[in-house]
């Protein structure tokens, strides 16, 4: 056995370059939240009997009722259960009650505010809030069955093994293999032809050269993707495939899950390489089961929330020379009984007007303003993870509009999603995420 001496300086040097040196430790509340989440009873595998039960009692959203019981919540309106949201999935920020498409990496010690967004509502938006159905995402098969089923679709031989409890894999680690695991009550899966493509912790790749073989056409890739999903047993309603062929080495197909005629943020991805080989694929195994129908806020209200939550954008990366690190410029509504969050997307739950106090943080310097006139508002379904470990598709307003301002040098469209469920039926985890 070799014992290492004399290399302490090297280790010290690496330790000094620790990316999270400036990140404060997890709060006691966060650790308690993790403990509570981990120990919460897992949703059972969906069964026909349970399906019938849920269908018969449309007003009973079992998961949310369990959460309400655990947290001792008092639903504002007894006829509808309250959603206790732990996180918003698919790139959303939980505190924001929605997903801001601009990619912000909050919590990074090196972040600094770069832009201030100012939203206005186009007069062309005349629709208002109405009823919106919530759907629970449930998996009718477990991860092991899913892995086996997918292996068949991808022509991978072998039995499902479980390197860790709940994770199942068919095929060798070196690839090709399929992997399936359950997260928040939903079975997720991926297909990897080789292990090298399974990890992204590598330096940014050099500009890629065109593949030796010919790539499938967009139409071929779309058709193949749909056939592949069908052969894997994914039979729910799917949207029209979106094809990205901007990378000369692959054709990337994305197919959205459609529920009740509405587009969701759940999707399936299949990437094709030369000669039509699948380079990677991923998705979920889940069915959307309708729960209760909730009143929703108007697009204007959603834009107000967007202004509160995303009135500024922060970004990681290198600090521009001479740019001061500023506190965020934002107005925060603080519900009674909760503390205020100061980082983007991490604030407390928006609540109906008049039930909280309002504070304003004054900036110490003026940030470049990006004006966005929201001229498109479509109700879609976004994924949210509840504190009881279940996942739900909830109505969201998908908002978009053109950007303008001194920093906008080319036509750009801002897109973001905001949870549309009336805030009185939503309870974000008690402690805002502040890091």
């Amino acid at each position: 056995v070799e014992r290492l001496d004399g290399q302490d300086e090297l280790i010290s040097r690496i330790a000094a370059a620790d990316p999270v040196l400036g990140v404060p430790p997890l709060s006691q509340g966060a650790l308690e939240r993790v403990t509570r989440t981990a120990m919460a009873p897992r949703p059972t595998t969906w069964s026909w009997a349970r399906f019938k039960l849920a269908t018969l009692s449309a007003g009973v959203v079992s998961g949310a009722l369990v959460v309400a019981g655990i947290l001792g919540l008092q639903a504002a309106v007894p006829s509808l259960p309250v959603f206790a949201i732990g996180t918003a999935s698919s790139g959303s920020h939980p505190g924001a009650l929605g997903s801001a498409a601009p990619s912000t990496s909050s919590g990074n010690a090196m972040m600094l505010p770069l832009l201030q967004y100012q939203f206005t509502v186009s007069p062309t938006i005349t629709i208002t809030g109405g009823p919106g159905t919530a759907y629970q995402l449930v998996s009718s098969i477990d991860a092991q069955t899913a892995a086996t089923q997918l292996a068949s679709a991808f022509n991978i031989q072998g039995a499902a093994t479980s390197p860790y409890d709940g994770d199942y894999q068919v095929g060798p680690d070196a690839g090709p293999y399929v992997s399936a695991w359950t997260s928040n009550g939903v079975v997720n899966w991926t297909y990897e032809p080789t292990a090298s493509s399974s990890v992204s912790s590598s330096p940014p790749p050099a500009p890629s050269a065109p593949a030796a073989g010919s790539l499938p056409t967009d139409a071929q890739a779309s058709s193949d993707a749909l056939s592949l999903l069908a052969s894997a047993g994914i039979t729910q309603d799917l949207g029209t495939p979106t094809v990205d062929d901007s990378d000369p080495t692959q054709v990337a197909v994305t197919v959205s899950m459609v529920v009740g005629g509405e587009t969701t943020d759940q999707s399936y991805s299949i990437d094709y390489g030369s000669d039509g080989t699948v380079q990677s694929a991923s998705g979920i195994f889940a069915t959307a089961v309708a729960g209760a129908t909730y009143p929703t806020i108007s697009p204007s209200d959603a834009i107000s929330i967007l202004q509160e939550r995303h009135g500024f954008i922060i970004d990681g990366g290198v600090q521009p020379e001479g740019t001061p690190v500023l506190p965020p410029t934002t107005t925060t509504t603080i519900p009674a009984g909760t503390s205020s969050g100061s980082s983007p997307g991490s604030g407390p739950t928006p609540i109906p007007p008049g039930t909280g106090t309002t504070t304003t943080t004054t900036p110490t310097a003026v940030l470049p303003v990006v004006n966005v006139e929201i001229n498109q508002a479509n109700q879609q379904l976004g994924t949210f993870s509840m504190t009881d470990g279940t996942s739900w598709l909830l109505p969201v307003w998908s908002l978009s509009g053109p950007e303008s301002g001194p920093t906008v040098t080319a036509p750009a469209t801002y897109s973001a999603s905001v949870l549309a469920v009336d805030p009185q039926y939503v309870q974000i985890q008690a402690e805002p995420l502040v890091y």
Partner: protein, 179 residues
């Protein structure tokens, strides 16, 4: 073991190691924010709760890092898919790996990236998570000997790379063999 005992042990594990696992995840999850990392931590701890009886006493941290490695691998694949979907909606700023953004020592960063993933993993587990060779064995699912050898080779390789790039490298490594 009673239910109360299990709950107490689990709570202690989260209290004592939760932050370390959280940091492990944030260091390595490309573009991760605090929420992503906490989600993954909850995932890791869910496995820990269910497999509590399998967690070796005294080696809780490396066991958790092992689970985190696996979860991270899956999350990265999911993340790549998610980013691609976001990109179709709006141009986003370039995303950098957490290590890439925050490792201020550029030469060190460049050298780290030239290591194989296994080399980089073992050396950062040692430097950032402070794992001993025996703990590395648990975290990486390999023998103690294999972990020690891998760490040794990774360090030597890193020193070579730093030397090649003309960096102010630390003093040459001295390796001695013991039983």
């Amino acid at each position: 073991v009673t239910t109360v005992d299990r709950e107490e042990r689990f709570s202690r594990i989260v209290r004592e190691h939760g932050d370390a696992v959280y940091r492990y995840l944030r260091r390595r999850h490309q573009g991760a924010d605090a929420t992503d990392a906490e989600d993954l931590l909850a995932d890791v701890m869910t496995v820990a709760w269910r497999k509590l009886d399998d967690i070796p006493e005294g080696a809780e941290a490396p066991w958790l890092f092992g689970v985190a490695r696996h979860r991270l691998s899956n999350a990265r694949r999911r993340r790549a898919r998610r980013d691609r979907i976001s990109a179709t909606m709006r141009p986003v700023p370039p995303s950098h790996a957490a290590e890439d953004e925050a490792v201020a020592d550029l030469q060190l960063r460049a050298a780290l990236w030239q290591l194989t993933e296994k080399e980089r993993e073992v050396i950062t587990l040692s430097a950032w998570e402070g794992l001993s060779p025996s703990e590395l064995g648990v975290a990486l699912g390999i023998s103690v000997n294999a972990a020690a050898v891998r760490l040794s080779k990774a360090k030597s390789r890193l020193l070579e790379l730093l030397s090649e790039t003309g960096a102010e490298s630390p003093a040459p490594a001295a390796t001695r063999t013991v039983q």
